[in-house]
Symmetry: C2
Subunit: 222 residues, 2 copies
């Protein structure tokens, strides 16, 4: 393990929890954050990421990547596609799946860290929530860890502290790490609304996690 | 193996040879080409890639990626950095090394192929030439193949027909595949000059390959 960590910060609940996990493990001076501007429909996410990083007192950098918008055909970047409100049918990938996106983000994060001597990456991916994205599963990230270590000639580690946690457990972890105040600055709503719509799949999942943890969502208390 | 292949085409000698390799193996109707516009200093490369694809009669698409230029600090995209003329010292990575670039390109190629049912990628990487890029080695690409197959839930293959060939053998393969005429359309010079400067490391390596194969370089015969 190197003594510096790079947190891939989306501005959402999960990556914010990961930032506080990294702060506890690597210390404030050992943590940087990176957000990808991939042409997301909801620009508020970028603002939320910057606010979270500022609140936590760590450096924050936005890296552009225009490729996914050019690929098109996805509900998260393509305004012509509706964002689905329900989970996909069993065995089908969700309409919000952008093939390879998480792999590209983590590879670019490693590339960003490389000249800075940062070999520990932290990502808020989880295989227990409903998303079903295959590039968020731990076996995929184990393979990526090996790929990056070979391809960059460094011992790259991808930390995924939320990988096997339920949303309830993630909320409890955030409370334990002192990340609840920062939660008020995060963004979750798939419709990009603030205050959140409360009815899209992402809002419903978030609300369920806080309810089951018995903690009021600071975002709604504002 | 799927019945369609996607060739990552840089407009250079190696990827052009790979295109003809793919044509032989997958047939003209089974081959598409993809070039990344990553902000390369020498825009002529993009033009060469388009000319090669047109000459071969296959579809060609340019995908933008603005991230590497934003990362900066590299001789291939950063005009402030000189392109080195010599090979790097033993055990050191070359100044033209862009961390993770080949991994990102292949991941995005797989993402481009995914909705099109293309699971066979072809890349002109070689571990026998002087480049020493760790993300071009076969062990790295084996790991990436596994990562992509898990992360995209498809049986992705990365073909690297030149991996263990010398430059001489690559030239002989190009001749065997009927790719020599297309060689006149390719670009190799690190200085971006046409006709090529003949003295940069890339020009010298190309010349050596043709000389050892006993074949005149069609690019110089024009």
């Amino acid at each position: 393990m190197s003594d510096k960590a790079l947190v891939v910060l989306s501005g959402g609940q999960d990556s914010t929890t990961c930032l506080y996990w990294a702060l506890e493990r690597f210390g404030r001076g050992g943590v940087e954050t990176l957000t990808f501007d991939y042409g997301q429909r909801h620009r508020v996410e970028l603002e939320c990421a910057a606010n979270v990083a500022r609140h936590a007192g760590v450096p924050h950098r936005v890296l552009p990547i225009d490729t996914f918008a050019a690929l098109g055909g996805n509900a998260l970047t393509d305004a012509a596609q509706p964002v689905p409100e329900d989970s996909p049918a069993e065995g089908r990938l969700p309409a919000t799946f952008v093939p390879g996106r998480n792999l590209v983000f983590l590879t670019l994060a490693a590339a960003w860290g490389w000249p800075r001597g940062i070999h520990d990456l932290v990502a808020g991916t989880s295989q227990t929530d409903y998303s079903g994205y295959p590039d968020c599963r731990r076996d995929t990230l184990d393979a990526l860890e090996r790929t990056l270590s070979l391809g960059l000639e460094r011992d790259i580690r991808i930390h995924t502290p939320l990988m096997r946690l339920s949303k309830k457990e993630t909320v409890l972890l955030a409370a334990e790490l002192g990340a609840l105040e920062a939660m008020a600055l995060t963004h979750t709503c798939y419709r990009g609304e603030r205050p959140p719509c409360g009815t899209c799949a992402a809002c419903v999942l978030r609300a369920k996690g806080f309810a089951e943890a018995g903690i009021a969502d600071p975002l709604l208390a504002r």
